[in-house]
């Protein structure tokens, strides 16, 4: 017999609004003329995100584990993460709206006549807006999903648009397409791992609910080996998304190949969504099995921190440098996951938001540095930029110092709170390694600062384009948040402390 599921639409509305906006965006693509599409899509996308956020504020105190028959858990943690994704997606869309980052005809072969025709006709790519909204919807569902099927669906909904968006770069088409393909193939593998893990967990516990799997090992008569296999495979799928070593190899290529605003969007929002899901799973479903997974995840965190920061030192390209930096940060965030206490949850939430602002800001600045053929990401060309554009250079230095965790920036408070949580849980090894790899990581952030400020500009140097109003707003907000959260972190710390609750 089939019973109608009872859905609490009020609590699901933030996600549904974004999905609705995405579908409207598709209709706009189909029915509006080329000229009107651009402004309409930007307005629609930003509007959707704002409405969704407003609705989220409206329902922020409704906690329940049964918003969608036990498949979605809306709790303080989930709502906070959703809000963070919406805010950062909003900022990223402001960057995306600066229109000349995307290929007019992404399906055309690089260098083909078809492509030339598309370029000369002045077509503007606007599909990217509904794709962004679809991805945002998936990202919002991912950290609140409380059964494995919903989790998988959310993972796919967030990933598929990103694969396409990666391939849309206007310049260096071949690299962009290669990045998209690589991302897609490796993403598909990781999804397969993820599903495989779910199958084992189901086989072991007979349930797909995160909560029930969590208590299953007390009651189940099955061999725990299946539980372990399931946990490992599921974790691998998630670690791939957050870009932890050794599942990180896609990150530099994809970050480099994707259009820069998309990279910023992915780096900030995907990380938040994926860590949201990771935290929910490990703080919830796998909490009782911590003796089994903690050593595994601690090891991953340590090698991620160390290898990420060492590999970053040799990079010559700003986007690749930032990619390795994001890998290192994934390591620090994993330290928050293995802390497994309330402080760890709150610290991770703070970290994700602070890191998100800094990341969007940093990639925003990368979009501005160009020469005649477009964006320039080769660091040697950035030499002496501070002389020509002091303001942009100071902002970039601020973001880099924040990545490095220098006091008075948000990155420092993030690092401090996450190490405090890890120390509190008795995991001193991770603190010591974290501190040492921070020191290594500082080297390459400071190297970029040195290039910007203290090297002589080459003759074929780059210039900073006058940013559009939207880009200016996005970078401005990111810079202000990076500074404010560093000097007066109370604003966000108090919020994460009250919101750091999980329902089971």
């Amino acid at each position: 017999m089939f019973t109608m599921p009872t859905l609490n639409y009020a609590q699901l509305a933030p996600i549904l609004i974004v999905l609705g906006g995405a579908l409207l965006g598709v209709l706009v693509e189909a029915f509006l003329g080329k000229r009107q599409r651009g402004p309409v899509q930007v307005t629609l996308t930003l509007g959707t995100l704002v409405i969704s956020f407003a609705w989220l504020l409206h329902v922020k105190n409704d906690m329940s584990a049964t918003a969608a028959v036990g498949s979605v858990a809306t709790d303080g943690f989930g709502i906070f993460v959703q809000g963070a994704i919406l805010v950062l997606a909003f900022l990223a869309v402001l960057l995306i709206a600066d229109n000349d980052h995307f290929a007019p005809a992404a399906s055309a072969l690089p260098g083909s006549e078809e492509e030339a025709v598309a370029i000369s006709s002045g077509i503007r790519t606007t599909e990217v807006f509904p794709l962004t909204l679809f991805a945002v919807a998936g990202m919002m569902l991912f950290p609140v999903a409380s059964d494995f099927i919903t989790l998988f669906v959310a993972l796919e909904v967030l990933s598929l648009p990103l694969y396409i968006m990666t391939g849309l770069s206007r310049r260096r088409r071949l690299m962009s397409q290669e990045a998209a393909l690589k991302y897609f193939l490796l993403g598909a593998y990781s999804s397969a791992f993820f599903l495989f893990g779910i199958a084992f967990l189901y086989g072991y516990s007979g349930t797909l609910s995160l909560t029930d799997v969590g208590t299953a090992n007390i009651f189940s008569a099955g061999s725990p080996v299946f539980l372990y296999i399931g946990m490992v495979f599921l974790t691998i799928g998630l670690l791939f998304k957050v870009g932890a070593v050794p599942f990180h190899s896609w990150t530099p290529d994809v970050y480099q190949g994707a259009p820069t605003p998309i990279t910023g969007f992915m780096a900030a929002c995907t990380k938040i969504a994926a860590f949201g899901a990771l935290l929910r799973i490990f703080y919830g479903a796998f909490f009782l099995m911590q003796l089994q997974w903690k050593p595994f995840l601690t090891t991953i965190a340590i090698i991620t921190m160390v290898l990420g920061s060492i590999a970053a030192m040799t990079q010559r390209d700003i986007k690749r440098t930032l990619a390795y930096s994001s890998i290192t940060h994934a390591g620090f965030l994993l330290a928050g996951v293995v802390a497994l206490n309330k402080a760890g949850l709150a610290a991770s939430m703070f970290y994700l938001v602070a890191y998100g602002f800094t990341t969007v800001g940093a990639f925003g600045i990368v979009t501005l540095v160009r020469d005649s053929s477009g964006e320039v990401t080769d660091l040697s060309k950035w030499a002496g930029l501070a002389k020509k554009s002091p303001l942009v250079s100071v902002a970039m230095a601020l973001f880099l110092l924040s990545f490095g965790g220098v006091p008075m920036t948000s990155g420092f408070i993030s690092k401090f709170s996450i190490f405090t949580a890890a120390y509190q849980s008795g995991n001193i090894a991770i603190v010591v390694v974290g501190v040492l790899s921070s020191a290594i990581a500082l080297f390459f952030y400071l190297r970029v600062v040195l290039i910007l400020f203290f090297q002589e500009a080459p003759t074929d140097g780059v210039s900073v384009v006058i940013p559009s109003v939207m880009t200016r707003i996005a970078i401005g907000i990111c810079a202000v948040m990076t500074l404010v959260l560093g000097i007066y972190p109370n604003l966000l710390l108090n919020l994460v402390n009250t919101m750091a609750t999980l329902v089971h």
Binding site: F412, K415, F416, Y423, L442, F453
Partner: protein, 501 residues
Amino acid sequence: MNILSIVTLFPLLGVVALAFMPKTNTYQIKIVALGISIITMLLSFVMALKYKSPASGFSYVTSHPWVSSFHINYALGIDGLALVLILLTTVLVPIVVLGGWNESEGGRWSVKTFYMLILVLETFMIGVFAATDVFLFYVIFEAMLVPVYFLIGGFGTGERAAAALKFLLYSLFGGLLMLAAVIGIYIISAEQAIGSFDVTALSHLTIDHATQNWLFLGFFIAFAIKAPLWPFHTWLPGAAKAATPGTSILLLGVLDKVGTYGMIRFCLTLFPDATKTFAPYIIVLSVISIIYGAFLAIGQKNLSSLIAFTSISHFGFITLGIFAYTSQGLTGATFYMVNHGFSTAALFLVGGWMISRRKSAAIDDFGGLQRITPVMAWTFFIAGLSALALPGLSSFVSEFLVLLGTFTRYPVAAIIGTLGIVLAALYILILVQRTLHGPLKSGNESMVDLNLREKIAIAPVIAALVILGFYPKPALHVINPSTTSVMAQMNVIDPHVLAGK
């Protein structure tokens, strides 16, 4: 807002004022920077005159919640140790501004940027000594590196970018080790009572030996890099060589003192047992620093790096006094910090003027300055004498106290340390002989003597060296109570002197 907060934050007012001034009017910018730093100095004098040594803890205490979820406070307060170092800072900044009147020009950035950085740095330098919250101290300790980095990299000479980067990386690395220790002690305080970063509350914790040792090392290495103690010193000569003389004065005269200040304030009082465990090893490092710094100073061909190496030797004396943890040793070390600040300032000021006139820092290029620039030569000579701790100059008092204090606990170290004095005479007198005496070397003929501005800048420094040399009582009077309280917190007394008295 109490006067300590006002003194700390006042230079920021100057930063705001400078931000609104046009870049082109450099004279006006300099006057504003000088004015602000002089007012800060006068305010600090007012504070010092009204200062009374507290029975225990700190004076001028103020505390406001800052990051409440981690119990972090904006907490300031000073004792004698902090007071003398704050006074050193507020006196040196206007002297640097006045003495290095033209060194802000010809840098990578505008004059305005230079003075904004200097004033931001002044707030940090005062704040770092005034902070009684370990977290606040740490934040300032790290944040103050950023203005120095840009001062060296933007306005220095030669390999300035590389030197600035090396300086920053070393310091930040040490800072990160300290961060781990700061977190550690906070967690311990949270386990034993409510979490706290208050330095007095933290000194009441009971920490087991092994943990104390690790936490001690976290703090100590950061301070040893800052101080700098052999073998953590390698960043210093490069930085001093590349920085402008004014920046070098602040760097060696004040910033490096944060290291030795931190050793007393945090290492000794928070981890007394670990201090006793490690003291013999640190004494060895200090003695090596004294001898090594002195020997390398003798061999230097560059004036700035020579002064930098003499400082390494002097910092050896300071750490020697600190880790002998006797009352003479600690008082001597604290007083040494002040005197070294002034004598380094004198050396770099006059040395800087010599370098800028000769357009060269190589010692071999100078010679016979006594004949054509007698005032400059004499002031340099006096500065040199204070570096070699001639009796009658203030550095003699402190060096004597340090060696005396050390002798009662570590006689061998004190005896070897005394060799440092002999070597000091060597490196200073050789320098004086080569640059000031002898026949006039070619290239020096067109040198001009000190002008009025330079005389005004150097006069207070020499006055301080002489006055404190003959009458050190006011300084020792405020330092002594804090020494007593550090000894009490460590629960140690002076060792008995067995013979000779």
